[in-house]
Symmetry: C2
Amino acid sequence: MKRDLSIEGCLFRPSSIAVVGASAEVNKHSGLIQHYLRRHGYAGAIYPVNPRHREVQGEPAFPTVLDIGRHIDHAFITLPTSAVLEAVIQCGEAGIPCATILASGYAESGADGRVKQRQLIETARSYGTRLLGPNSLGLINLTDRVALSVSEVLSLPSLRSGRYSVISQSGGMMGALLSHGDARGIGFSKLVSTGNEADIGVGEIGEFLVDDPHTDVILLFLETIRNPDRMEAMVRRAHRAGKPVVAFSTARSRLGEELAVAHTGALAGGGAVMTAFLRDIGVVRVNVLEALLDIAPLLQGRRPPPAGGVSVVTTTGGGGALVVDCLSGLGVDVLAPSEKSRSQLKVRGIEVGESALVDVTLAGTNAETYGAVLQELLSASHTQAVVAVVGASSQFRPDRAVEPILAAKQASTAQALAVFLTPAADQSMELLRRHGIAVFRSPEACADAIKAYLEWQTPRSPAPPSVDLHATQALLQKIADDQLSSEDANGLLDTLGIPRAPTVLLPPSLDAWTDEQLDALRYPVVAKISAPNLVHKTELGAVALGIQTVEQLRSASRDILQRLARVRPDILVKGIEVQPMEQGLIEILIGYRDDPQVGPIIAVGLGGVLAELHRDVAISLAPVDQRTARAMLRRVRGMATILGFRNLPRGDVEALISAICKLSSLAVLRDRPILEAEINPFIVRAEGQGAIAVDILARRS
Amino acid sequence: MKRDLSIEGCLFRPSSIAVVGASAEVNKHSGLIQHYLRRHGYAGAIYPVNPRHREVQGEPAFPTVLDIGRHIDHAFITLPTSAVLEAVIQCGEAGIPCATILASGYAESGADGRVKQRQLIETARSYGTRLLGPNSLGLINLTDRVALSVSEVLSLPSLRSGRYSVISQSGGMMGALLSHGDARGIGFSKLVSTGNEADIGVGEIGEFLVDDPHTDVILLFLETIRNPDRMEAMVRRAHRAGKPVVAFSTARSRLGEELAVAHTGALAGGGAVMTAFLRDIGVVRVNVLEALLDIAPLLQGRRPPPAGGVSVVTTTGGGGALVVDCLSGLGVDVLAPSEKSRSQLKVRGIEVGESALVDVTLAGTNAETYGAVLQELLSASHTQAVVAVVGASSQFRPDRAVEPILAAKQASTAQALAVFLTPAADQSMELLRRHGIAVFRSPEACADAIKAYLEWQTPRSPAPPSVDLHATQALLQKIADDQLSSEDANGLLDTLGIPRAPTVLLPPSLDAWTDEQLDALRYPVVAKISAPNLVHKTELGAVALGIQTVEQLRSASRDILQRLARVRPDILVKGIEVQPMEQGLIEILIGYRDDPQVGPIIAVGLGGVLAELHRDVAISLAPVDQRTARAMLRRVRGMATILGFRNLPRGDVEALISAICKLSSLAVLRDRPILEAEINPFIVRAEGQGAIAVDILARRS
């Protein structure tokens, strides 16, 4: 093996490996590394390191890595947590460029572990040693026969190599994916368990795989996002190289999400944020685990498609209806053949109806009918993908069932093709896979893959700021408070160019109200408490609407102040804010947040408690341009009321889009001084009549 | 074979079968019946019927069934559609008690087909011949070796018998389920393709299976509901016999649902209605296809559980998190071990944390740890089910991986147990299945099965009417119109005892308004058009709110009448309805419908366009009792605002529940004279202050 001293070389193709903590017991992690390396044909040098043995599994052993006296490309440290730091120091002293750490008990286990992990990484950095892990099961390079992992899946007698690579934050799931791939006859190029990613993470490994001539598709099993910038750069690079990146993530549900204090926080939970991040950077996102293994042929050689639907052709009515139902349930448009397609087929003597499901029936299971229909659908222009469903023939006459599909696919590649077989039909599945056709054994995985393909986006373009931010930057330099005062928050809106309702702040003592202040008011007005950090003002009874006179204003303000003093005596009241009562069609919430996981995001939804209960909010990475902001509005169900629904008047959508873009441009401020900013409500009036921010809360980073 | 002349005997255990349209070609449907019957060991007499042959597949053939001259228990008619009716007549003449019809082109194909199907069934009835189909692939009885079907799955060399039975409206999916079961080592007792169910349907077949000593669980693959009463009776009987009935349905999404004209129709689409029906009659409902095959051991020997959550124990963090995420995403409560469980385990030296996921890690994959934790969780009282996740060991050391699960299951059966294996681990799956433990190969199927179990309901009790319906019945006898007038609809509310806002109907000509009418009004009032059949009044601008004076009333009424004359000149205007402006916390929609598919249902949701966009509505079979109505409210997300959310005031939930029950009692009126009745809005005031119906639309059947 020729030495390659790049990190990528030392990780994936080390010509020599030290196994630190090596043991003779092949049913222990410490014994498995050496055992698996040799079992799967590793051709380089292995140096077991163990001070208590002179020989381990037939190779001479060394007391420490410093005693080996040769160049070592990679050290796999199988020692318990307490002994790892010392081993890393020795690897550093020995000039080993790269080490994998199996032990757990680091950042994943709490505060103490975080301290230990920081020590570890600082030590390694001081020597220039790069780390995989800790809490990593290692990596498996099947192209070059480097099975450098303790994953029990390496108990398999032999491993197939292939052209998919896997990066998994969970070591167990790396093994599970390899195991299920093996059972399907799917081989892999590289598989990496990244563990805690103290140093080397998904982004960097991904970059190696983009450059790897043996990898066509990159599959990710994610639990979190640790380095969003690098990950985004990697996916952008993969996009340029024509290598699809597909992800499955376990962080989709509410459980485990921290209870968010801020309003936006509650709306934009971790799962929704990760979804927005992955979509916007151009990752294909699957939500059914086995689709991660089966989707690749659907994507290979393709680019993110324009918006569109899918057509479905079947030999079996029940199975076809099943797939249509799954697709439709996921919100995918299942479309009937176009008139053009129907007439072209009619010329060939084939009648297909106007149903969304094209059922050629059992009698049509042949090249003349099924093949012709499929070929026509694959070359049609009104859909982006086709699902071909095959019934019992796929189990008992695989050649006959598969042949028309292969022929049609060869004749037309305009659209993506997915096949769902209703029975257990391993032979047909294998045949189709061998010919590069995506095939699914469950209707749910098939529908999920189609949806994932149709929702695949080109990586976002680094959007230019839509406004001049000098004034905003200057304003923020002058603000010291974490929580911006009402005046400063209003100033923020002004510098961004977002229209807002004029506000008069009356002091908390009613006796101190001046005639000048009161004369400035235009009734009807709204009065609300001014108190930093106070959210849910309406529910607390700290807002009074429709005030017509100064007497009503005094009485309502007195009520509010008394009520708040009773229920929230902890709150520091700055006064009563009075604004003209703004009327519009709808109240919107626009929230900006510098998310700790993925960076700046912008969220838009309807204001009010109902929208929150429905979690009806669209999230994108910030900044957004007008096109993206417009697409966000279509993702909010309740927004339909102002986009042209029944006879309801249309809202001033352009004014709303403009405000979304402007607020999102906080993401491009130097040093990103704003942590969170929420306009709620943002009142949208009828088309052409503008929109206006009524309230804003903002916090510095 | 002893003759059993019951329908059940002639269907499942015929001692003699006529194959009408028999052929020698075993790759045609007409040849397959005989071929498959013999291949799978049918021991009775087979009589091929074909006028063109004297012998078919080694058996003497007859020109017609009338020429056979022996008792025939069952005729399988493989003839083309055009020849079927004649064959049924001959079967009738020959006194054959039961026939299966393969041909399609009947009710499923449109109006002509419906006529043909009616002829067919009337003819058969006139002879007392019972029919399976048309459009049926037949049935497979593996207990008694009667493979009476053309399903290609019978090409399998041999078939395993087992204790699950399948009723499938799709013939193709009957075969697919048998195929997938076979690949898993799961055997079946009986499988029936019911096709169009012109005569024998799911309910009747199910009754046979409830009585079948070889069937423990009944699995349904449904496309629609044809005889809801019989199906309900069957499931009730199965419940008494302790045989779970599980269903998967393809009619879940919007596609294919008719565009409903009525408001309630749009809210209560076909999928939601079927879901309500299956739940309320006591069917276990799965939504992932393979869960239909794998769920049975989770249910066997169990009854619908009380409300509760699930605990999850794992040897592999990634796989455990995966299942937790799937469960939580489905809204299932994943609960940490109770304090009691934690302290009991501590006594045995096992520390488990307060996380919802109990991760014993790879090191704990043994009876002492994994087994002990699992046993403790299985006997805990704060959850209803446990998911055990096992990693790589399940693939490579099945005995070791499975043993603690078997032991724990033997020690405690208090809770339902599901196992998810992360790798491809066929041996472990087989071992677990053999011991009656539910095991899943995908996290989605596992989570779906747990959810299905936790949502399993006892069949609804035939609820007594909650009100005296004599007055309602008397009122309806006097009404002739299809669409009830405002007065009659209000009268309906009055006889049901549902409070409503007093209404004054002013004539459409403003000059005709009398002082007496105007003096009766208490301002502020609401004015709206009175026009039968007019829905979406607000969107049409046909409602004016907050009218303070008679002048305002005149002007608003004039506006409404002019606008309507312009935009909907087709509408017959009866006048202007004036009501006091009712104030409350929330506007609710309560809808009753005699659904064409499942019979009377009651729906409740928030009023307004947003609730409709979110399809946030709860549906139950009507009538409902207070307990069921209360449960419905918890299923409406937006209802949270009046059930005690943050500091929002609670609504008068009891008044709402009372109205739901009363409206639902329309279902028990003699002859069910009401087709549809919708109260919208029903305004709910604060707790203790009642609730009131503001508008009602009703239609006769």
